[in-house]
């Protein structure tokens, strides 16, 4: 018997503006303990606004119900598995939420005197040290706010190092399997992008790379394991080729979940990489953020790291703002501190051996899925899988059913879809990453669902093409949304 979705209590809910009526309030301020100032007098009549037109006027009960009802329209990790390739949607430990909310951490002001922020600084330093050990790198900056921000930071570091040698160079090489943020970050860093093709094994073509790398190349941006979930077996040779021409090897660390305690980028020739604390290190995704994208580098790039840097003076932590070669600031203050607290809590909970177990189980789960789904879905690359596996819809497409539709049908079985149509080198890709925090039973349910859908494609393709059927909201018209954009509510 296959578990499927059954309808549950889902209440229709209007927009908050449609609950509004004049005079309703959900707040109360204390009585002012100082003389009231007349805004027109203090600010000038011309600077004082009229009322905020159409802003909500609702009661406290309505606020609670509104958001509670809307929340029931969301799928979440709390309710089930996210087999989203390259996203590492793992369990978010609850103790991390608790410690991030401790008053003196959550309410610390970034400009409070350093002597009164030693606890925060110690946490940051400890996280830097742990991430350097996990990645085999020499120094870490915690400043970048997300993965793409980390990529940009690393590109700027490489640019600064090359410029200091006399020539920042012109281009960045990016495999055709890379995430879209890689070329976008390279472009903001002032580089032209040159795509390089993967070989038949889904890996970097070393011979081709050797041909391309010259004194115009600043760096190669590689994801390892790459977006096919395949480990770049020639990575040491790749690093040698780049280093021989004075270029750098940058690694997108989105897939670090496959390597912890097994292999370290710093040991296989990587000069800079970013990590996603909201992937590998379990901080919650929050419906699209916040994340954090620390960057770890080798000694050669350390002088260029963003300001400020933590430094120890005596037994106290202090900030070093005077760093001659620094690329400057990537954001105000020190980064997403609240996310760092959660990530450190995660690392402390596991310890070294625990992190290695994370990786072992993550790879076990992906290979278990691969083994069971291989009879039903085309596996375009036979190379061994690490933490994720990429199938194609080749067989189902012959029945007119494509990966996006299979993904929507998965919703009816109670799962979030896998990553659709990515990486670009696989036509009609189904990219599946279970992570280590799924039970065997949940994995078996997922396999059953995927198997059942493959059979449905043979028997009743239309059923799959019109999915999802069990959701409160049926297939959404995204084309209409883009054609005539309605991006805000207005009164009728």
């Amino acid at each position: 018997m296959i578990d499927r979705v059954r309808p549950h209590l889902v209440i229709n809910e209007r927009l908050i503006f449609e609950h509004s009526s004049p005079g309703k309030v959900a707040y109360q301020l204390p009585v002012l303990d100082v003389p009231a100032v007349d805004p027109a007098e203090a600010l000038g009549t011309e600077s004082v606004r009229a009322e905020i037109e159409d802003f909500p006027e609702v009661s406290e009960v309505e606020v609670v119900r509104h958001y509670a009802r809307l929340s029931t329209w969301n799928y979440s990790l709390n309710t089930g598995m996210y087999p989203l390739g390259s996203c590492t949607m793992k369990y978010n430990p609850r103790v991390n939420e608790l410690v991030a909310r401790i008053e003196e951490l959550a309410w610390a002001h970034p400009y409070q005197p350093e002597a009164l922020a030693q606890g925060s600084m110690e946490i940051m330093s400890r996280l830097e040290t742990a991430l350097a050990e996990i990645t085999g790198m020499d120094a870490v900056t915690l400043e970048p706010a997300a993965g793409a921000h980390g990529e940009l930071t690393a590109i700027l570091l490489i640019r600064a190092a090359l410029a200091r040698r006399g020539n920042p160079r012109k281009k960045i090489l990016i495999p055709d399997s890379a995430h879209g943020t890689n070329p976008a970050s390279a472009a903001i860093g002032g580089y032209a992008v040159e795509n390089i093709k993967s070989n038949d094994a889904g890996m970097l073509d070393v011979a081709a790379l050797e041909q391309i790398v010259n004194e115009d190349v600043a760096a190669l941006m590689v994801t390892n394991p790459n977006t096919l979930g395949v480990f770049e077996e020639h990575i040491i040779r790749v690093a040698e080729i780049l280093h021989a021409k004075g270029a750098f090897l940058y690694m997108d660390g989105a897939n670090m979940n496959a390597l912890m305690g097994i292999a370290r980028p710093g040991d296989f020739g990587v000069d800079a990489l970013h990590l996603n604390l909201h992937k590998t290190f379990s901080t919650p995704h929050g419906g699209g953020g916040p994340g954090a994208g620390p960057v770890a580098v080798k000694k050669t790039l350390e002088p260029f790291l963003p300001v400020p840097r933590l430094k120890q003076s005596g037994k106290k932590w202090a900030y070093d703002y005077k760093r001659k070669h620094s690329i400057g600031r990537l954001r105000a203050f020190y980064g997403n501190f609240g996310v760092m607290v959660r990530a450190l809590a995660y690392i402390l909970a596991h310890g070294g051996p625990g992190l290695r177990k994370v990786t072992l189980d993550a790879v076990l789960n992906a290979n278990y899925i691969r083994k069971h789904l291989e009879p039903f879905y085309e596996l375009p690359y036979q190379s061994p899988s690490m933490h994720e596996v990429v199938f194609s819809d080749h067989r189902q497409a012959q029945k007119g059913v494509h990966t996006g539709e299979i993904a929507k049908r998965l919703i009816d079985y109670g799962f979030h879809p896998y990553t659709v149509s990515f990486p670009l080198i696989v036509h009609g890709a189904l990219m599946i990453e279970p992570t280590e925090t799924e039970t065997k039973r949940e994995l078996d349910r997922f396999i059953q669902a995927m198997t059942a859908i493959a059979e449905e494609v043979d028997r009743d393709p239309q059923l799959v093409k019109t999915a999802p059927h069990a959701t409160g909201t049926s297939r959404v018209d995204e084309v209409a949304a883009a054609r005539k954009p309605v991006l805000r509510w207005k009164p009728a």
């Binding site: 970034p110 976008a184 402390l348 065997k440």
Partner: protein, 437 residues
């Protein structure tokens, strides 16, 4: 390890199914030379109790129980209880980016409401789903202005947050986007429009001003806009204190608004995570960075929402995208939404008025360094003693005084930026005044 939900016998069953002898065998294809030959040099994993104790010990090394008059881009406002109530719901906390609209209507609807409230608040036509923070939003707004005008030069007022200006320089450095600064009036603390007039030229893409500015002063946005528009440049208005918008005229002259919403129920959290926004006029929507949610219908004809205009974004356009941003700050945007909903039309105005009154009370006891109009922050100069002496005296009374400004503005020796909000108590303000005397 308590977060790993499998027993060893289940692992064994799974390995048997795969046909592998051991977990290590799954890594056999990794070349010997890349494999770590020793355990990670990290301590053993610890229990929940020990984790909580570790962080409580660290917290005890931070300020505890102090009254604070710090602002400067991060503000102490009361956080309505409902905010935590909403964002602690796992359905919001643990959900993914809402690409799959059919099972993400909760998040999508809240973002649509967020975009709407930001437009109402700033008097703009369209707002995005969020940026990392105010500082990166400002840099992205400058890049957006460059795309929209086809020109490259950016002029930024020195009365804009100093760290925001540093971020702008980092972003601009490699994009053929020269950044220059124009000054402020030494008596008023507001931007020097004549200096702007001298420095602007026809190659200028954007003029960036902040209001209330870094000194807390309501800045001369209209004058700056007039100069910018006359030379074909866009006016970017930055704000760091969103509560000010409860009282202050929204920036009708601005082409792009870039702001920070930390004031809206986001804990200071030692500087992040926060949430930035970019809002603009309809005609610039396709130049905007970041995610946007739009309204549409499902196949049953019901109103529904989805991410839209993705052809601006990196996952479609790659190196030609309007920005490299991917993950943004959705959960923080949700906090801000709940805050705006709780305070609402009347409440935000009353809250802003309380901030205004408190700051003016404090200012009435000191001598503000500038004579411009201000909202809830102002600059004061210490006389007859050093800033260090005064702040130390305050710390003894468990009060963190304002931010010394000399680090950012060498000319503002012995000056401090003070902020008072609805959470500042009269007795503490009197103590600050006493320390100044």
């Amino acid at each position: 390890m308590r977060y790993l939900p499998k027993s060893d016998s289940e692992r064994r069953q799974m390995l048997d199914a795969i046909g592998a002898g051991s977990l290590e065998e799954l890594f056999a294809h990794l070349p010997e030379a890349v494999r770590l030959q020793r355990p990670l040099d990290l301590p053993l994993g610890i229990s929940e109790y020990e984790i909580v104790r570790y962080f409580r010990e660290r917290a005890a090394q931070n300020a505890s129980g102090y009254a604070s008059f710090l602002g400067a881009g991060v503000y102490y406002h009361f956080r309505p209880v409902l905010v935590e109530n909403v964002v602690a719901r796992g359905e919001f906390l643990t959900s993914y980016t809402p690409y799959q609209a059919e099972i993400s209507q909760g998040t999508l609807t809240t973002i649509f409401e967020f975009q709407t409230m930001i437009c109402q608040l700033t008097g703009t036509d369209v707002a995005n789903a969020s940026m990392y923070d105010g500082s990166t939003a400002m840099a992205e707004a400058a890049m957006m202005a460059v795309r929209a005008t086809g020109k490259g030069r950016v002029l930024v007022a020195r009365s804009v947050h100093p760290e925001y200006r540093e971020v702008l320089r980092t972003y601009a450095a490699n994009q053929g986007m020269p950044v220059e600064e124009f000054g402020y009036l030494p008596e008023m603390g507001t931007l020097d429009a004549e200096d702007l007039e001298r420095k602007i030229d026809d190659l200028t893409a954007a003029v960036i001003v902040q209001s209330p500015n870094f000194f807390g002063a309501v800045d001369r946005v209209r004058e700056a806009a007039e100069v910018a528009h006359r030379r074909g440049a866009l006016l970017i208005l930055v704000f760091t204190e969103a509560v000010s918008l409860g009282l202050l005229q929204p920036p009708a002259e601005a082409d792009i608004v870039a702001g920070e919403l930390q004031s809206f129920a986001i804990p200071p959290s030692y500087g992040g995570p926060f949430v930035g926004i970019i809002a603009t006029r309809d005609r610039f929507v396709r130049q905007m960075p970041g995610r946007l949610v739009g309204q549409t219908v499902d196949t049953r004809g019901n109103r529904a929402f989805c991410l839209t205009l993705a052809t601006r974004e990196q996952h479609i356009r790659r190196e030609k995208a309007t920005s490299n941003i991917c993950t943004n700050q959705a959960l923080l945007a949700l906090m801000a939404s709940v805050f705006m909903t709780v305070y609402g039309k009347e409440g935000l105005r009353e809250l802003a008025a309380q901030n205004l009154s408190k700051a003016h009370y404090l200012a009435s006891k000191l001598k503000p360094r500038f004579c411009g109009k201000f909202f809830n922050e102002f600059v004061a100069q210490v006389q007859g003693k050093t800033l260090d002496q005064m702040n130390k005296a305050l710390l003894k009374k468990k009060i963190i005084g304002g931010l010394p400004l000399q680090r950012f503005y060498p000319e503002l020796e012995n000056c401090v930026l003070l902020c008072a909000t609805e959470m500042s108590r009269r007795a503490d303000m009197d103590a600050v005044a006493e320390a100044f005397a």
